[in-house]
Amino acid sequence: MSSELINLTLRVWRQSGPDSPGQFDNYQLNGVSTHMSFLEMLDVLNEQLIESGQESVAFDHDCREGICGTCSLMINGQAHGPDTATTTCQLHMRRFNDGDTVTIEPWRATAFPIVKDLVVDRSAFDRIISSGGYVSVNTGNAPDGNAIPVAGSQQEVAMDAAACIGCGACVAACKNASAMLFVSAKVSQLAILPQGQQERSERVVSMVSQMDDEGFGSCTNTSECEAACPAEISVSNIARLNREYLRASLCGRD
């Protein structure tokens, strides 16, 4: 456990725009409280930069409680930092020691182009969801909550898949920048439930097709995504996606 206040050298990726070359800049940050979250530490850095007339570091953040999936960052080469099942906003500075050098990079994937500094454009995920990650329902009165029976065990599996917050850590950690864990979670959560059966075949085919079009890599089954996932999505979802895809391709209607 490190002391209450630590001094850090930050190696931060700076890139002024999507087409700029970008480089690492070093910043010395002294007196960082170990009770801070990683994002609060970046806030302190930015205040220091603004006070000295420099441009602040752009990074994504929103809820700061591990739910929204907005924060990202490769911290010392690990998506969301060294902890497991943790987002960057939940990472605390007590995980670092006095005198450490911390390298901070954006997610790197062709499908996630850098907008500025540490901010990447993850709208590729939105387009994958738009292509099939939904169920179509008729509008009207709200249906009775228990009208469609779902076994408890199935609910659990579907909920585990639905825990995906779409942060992109799976893509960031994968050596192939593959989005299979994300897509498989989104396919699984609906394929398991009765409400998702109507569009089951079209969904998986469209979402895989969109995933390929966005330029994500292929899955080599290294399970690096599972280890990096803050929501602990299992690679068994990837096996389910493969089954769903085979089923849709061989037995689905055109």
């Binding site: 490769m74 010392n76 497991t84 920048a177 593959s178």
Partner: protein
């Protein structure tokens, strides 16, 4: 079906199928080779029976070559897809997984290289024993397949090349078999541990089986 060949998921499925088919061939090949332990007569009879299959054997050879080339082609295609997916690498990259058996992140990171190594070995292997055209060897005129195998494997060059290739094969299969099953959707929380252990055992049983054959031939000659 055409759609399957073009998507990343489909290509991985085909890669799994061709890979498992090649595993089937390896198991058959090893079971034949193990007859070397049964002596010259048993092995030569097996070889003669195999070669007397004529057109069936030719068809199997063509099928194997096609499967191998498809596996290689799919590997190149999916690797290219993955290279395009990350144009700039990380300055620093660490795994969040546990201890790895190999430097660089386990067998999964070495699939293309080990595969290409096995491919290069295959060319040597065919030159050695199918076409019998190794320039540095004097092939025996009698004694059948048993004598030929002994001549080829007794050469130090063969011993080194075959040894290295078989270790590469073991590494390749130690990830390949499990990965192929996952690509085909074979996964169940109750069975995954067994599938993992079974795949690993199969991989090294094949590699070590061939290594035993190699070692035995070299020691006994």
């Amino acid at each position: 079906m055409i759609r399957i060949c073009c998507t990343s998921v489909g290509q991985k499925v085909l890669m799994a199928l061709t890979g498992l088919a090649l595993c089937g061939f390896l198991a058959t090949h090893l079971s034949g080779n193990l007859l070397l332990f049964a002596g010259e007569e048993a092995f030569n009879t097996y070889a003669e029976n195999l070669h007397s299959m004529g057109v069936l054997l030719k068809a199997a050879e063509v099928g194997l070559l096609a499967t191998f080339l498809a596996h290689l082609g799919l590997a190149v295609s999916t690797t290219a897809m993955s290279r395009r997916a990350r144009s700039r690498q990380y300055d620093e990259k660490e795994s969040k997984q546990g201890v790895f058996a190999l430097p660089g992140g386990g067998a999964s990171n070495w699939m293309l290289l080990t595969g290409l190594g096995i491919g290069a070995f295959l060319v040597l292997h065919l030159v050695d024993l199918k076409f019998k055209m190794r320039p540095d060897l004097v092939y025996p005129t009698d004694g059948g397949a048993y004598a030929t195998v002994n001549t080829v494997l007794s050469s130090p060059v063969s011993f080194a090349a075959y040894g290295v290739a078989l270790i590469l094969l073991g590494i390749h299969l130690s990830h390949g078999v499990r990965s192929a099953l996952q690509s085909l959707g074979v996964s169940h929380s109750k069975w995954n541990k067994l599938i993992e252990i079974g795949s690993m055992l199969f991989a090294w049983a094949i590699a070590l089986g061939f290594i035993c054959v190699l070692g035995w031939v070299v020691l006994s000659s």
